[in-house]
Amino acid sequence: MSFNAKNTLLFGLALLAAALAPVGISSKFYLDVLTLIFFTAYIGQSWNILGGYAGQFSFGGVMFFGTGAYTSSILLVTFGIPPLIGIFVAVLMGAFLGFLVGYLSFRSGLRGSYFALITLAFAELLRVLANSVEFTGGGVGLFLTYAPGLKNLQFVSPTGFYYFSLFLLVISLAIALWLERSRFGAQLIAIRENEEAAEALGIDTLKCKLYAIMIMGGMGGAAGTFYAQKYLYIDPPISYSIALSVEMLLVSIVGGLGTVFGPLIGSVVLHVVNEVARHFIDTPGLSLIVYGVILIFIISYLPNGLVGLFRRSRGKKEDGGA
C-alpha cells in the first residue's frame, strides 16, 4: 500500500482525534472499550508481522504475552523491580522466547500447519510449566498491589490506560509502516509468497523469519506487562489462554492479513460486535457466534479482509474496474 501525503494527513488527524478522545468521552465504559480495541489491535499486529507479512501462521502467539506478563510481574512481586523497567525486560524475554521457538522450528524446516501447531504446543507447555513451578505462584497466580504511578504503569483513571494502549498501538502501526517501506518488509513478503524463490534471490530466510518472530515476541511481552498492570492479577489460564492466541489471528484475518491497518480494523469489528451483541442479547458467548458468522462471510467473500474492501473500491476508481 502506498502511503502518500493524503494518507499521512488522515493518519495524523486520526491520531490527533485519538489523543483528544478522553476529553470528549467522559464515560469510563467507552474509554475502556477503546483501550481494549487498541490493545487487541496491538497484539493482533504482533501476530500479523509474522503471520500476515512473513506468512508464518502461529496458533500459540499468546506465549509471548504470558511470558511478558510473568516476567514483569515476578520482577515486581519477588524482586521489587518496577514495571516501568520490567516492561523492557518483558520485551527482551518475549524476543528471546521468539528466538528460541523460531530457531527450533524454522531451522528444522517447519512450515504451515506444522509450525502453527508447534507454537500451540509451546504455549501449552508454558501454561503447564507456569502452573507447576513455584516462582510463578503456581495455580494460585500472582496478585499485584495497586499502587498507581507511572513507575508501576498503573493509573487511577481509565485515561491513563487509554493512553498506554494508544502508545502501544502507535508503536505497532509504526513498525508495520516501516515494514511496508523497508527491505526487511519486502523480504518477509517474498518469504510469504514463495520461500524457495526468496532463498534463491539471496534472502536469508531463516534469519528474516527469526527477526520477525522476535519482533512478535517483544511486542507480545510488552502486552503482557500492560495486561498485568491493568488487571493486577495473572494466572496460567489467563496468561497462556488459547482464546487470546485465536483473537490475535482473527483480528488480523478479518481486518486484512499483511496490512498496516488490518488488525486495528479487525479489532474494532470484534469489540463493537462484542459490545453490541452483549447489549442486546443476554446470552453469554453469543457475540462470538456473531463474530464467527462475520468471519465465515469474510473468508468466503473477502480473502483480503475488510481492508481489501477499501482497496477494491479504490482500485476500481483508479483503473476503471480492472
Binding site: S182, Q187, A190, E193, A197, A198, L201
Partner: protein
C-alpha cells in the same frame, strides 16, 4: 573458470539422479545443458545452486567450494538460478518482484527501485512494471523470473528452461534478451529443450542422460553425435539416420 563441477553425485534412495558429473563454465560463455526428460538436468542444477545437498563431488564458484552453502549465500557470491516452473511472488507487482532481487545488493529502497527498473528495461518489461505477477502471461513470467535473478547482479546465471511453453516469436525475443545479458558480462549456464535456441545461443553444450554426461562440445557437434541421438531416439536410431542419409 567461473564454475567448476567435479564428480558431482546426487542420489535419491537407490536412484542415482546425477552420477559423477564433471563440467566447467568459463567467464563470458553461454553454456547449455541438454538431455531427454528425466535425465537429471534440474537435479544437477539444484545440486549446484545449493537447493539439494549432493552426495559426492564438489562445486566451485570462482575457485572456492560452495558445497555446503545455502542458496542465499551462493546468491550473494554471484550465482543465481531461475526455476523451470516460474515462482513469482504472486501478490506483488513486477517492479516489487524484481526489487526483491535487487534488495540482495542494497538496503536502500530508491536504489533497489532504480536497479529494478534498469533490469526491467533489459528484459523488456518496462510497460508491465505495475502489473500484478499472478496476472502475467507465461512469457512474461519467464521474463520476470529472468529479471529477478538478474537484479541480484550475478556473475553466473543458471537458467532452467526459460523457453519452455513459449511460442516461436517469444523464443526469438528471449534469445535476444539472453544474448544481451551475456553482453553485459554475465556468464550463463542454461538448461534448454528448444534445440534451435540451444544452437543459436550456446558456445558449448553438455548432454546429460540417465544422470551421466554422455557428450560435450559445440552444439552442432553434439547434435550429430550418435550417442546423443540414441539417447533421445532410442537404440539404433543413429544407424538408421545415417542409413537414410546414405540412401
Amino acid at each position: 573458470m567461473v564454475l567448476e563441477v567435479k564428480q558431482l553425485t546426487k542420489r535419491f534412495g537407490g536412484l542415482i539422479a546425477v552420477s559423477e558429473v564433471d563440467l566447467s563454465v568459463v567467464e563470458g560463455e553461454i553454456v547449455s545443458l541438454i538431455g531427454p526428460n528425466g535425465a537429471g538436468k534440474t537435479t544437477l542444477f539444484a545440486s549446484i545452486a545449493g537447493f539439494l545437498k549432493p552426495d559426492g563431488g564438489d562445486v566451485q564458484l570462482n575457485g572456492q567450494s560452495i558445497l555446503n552453502l545455502k542458496p542465499h549465500k551462493i546468491c550473494q557470491r554471484g550465482m543465481v538460478r531461475t526455476f523451470q516452473i516460474t515462482q513469482p511472488f504472486a501478490a506483488l507487482n513486477t517492479l516489487e518482484n524484481i526489487m526483491v532481487g535487487a534488495y540482495s545488493r542494497t538496503g536502500d529502497k530508491a536504489l533497489a527501485q532504480r536497479e529494478a527498473e534498469r533490469v526491467a528495461d533489459i528484459v523488456g518489461m518496462t510497460s508491465q512494471l505495475h502489473q500484478k505477477a499472478d496476472g502475467l502471461t507465461v512469457a512474461a513470467r519467464k521474463r520476470l523470473e529472468l529479471a529477478r535473478a538478474l537484479a541480484t547482479k550475478p556473475k553466473l546465471l543458471l537458467l532452467d528452461e526459460v523457453m519452455a511453453g513459449l511460442n516461436p516469436t517469444e523464443i526469438d525475443e528471449i534469445v535476444d534478451v539472453i544474448k544481451g545479458i551475456r553482453d553485459t558480462g554475465v556468464t550463463i549456464f542454461l538448461i534448454e529443450h528448444v534445440m534451435k535456441a540451444v544452437v543459436n545461443l550456446s558456445d558449448r553444450t553438455y548432454v546429460l542422460n540417465d544422470g551421466k554426461l554422455i557428450a560435450q562440445g559445440t552444439p552442432e557437434s553434439v547434435a550429430s553425435n550418435p550417442t546423443v541421438i540414441e539417447a533421445y531416439l532410442g537404440h539404433g536410431a543413429a544407424a538408421a539416420m545415417a542409413g537414410e542419409g546414405a540412401a
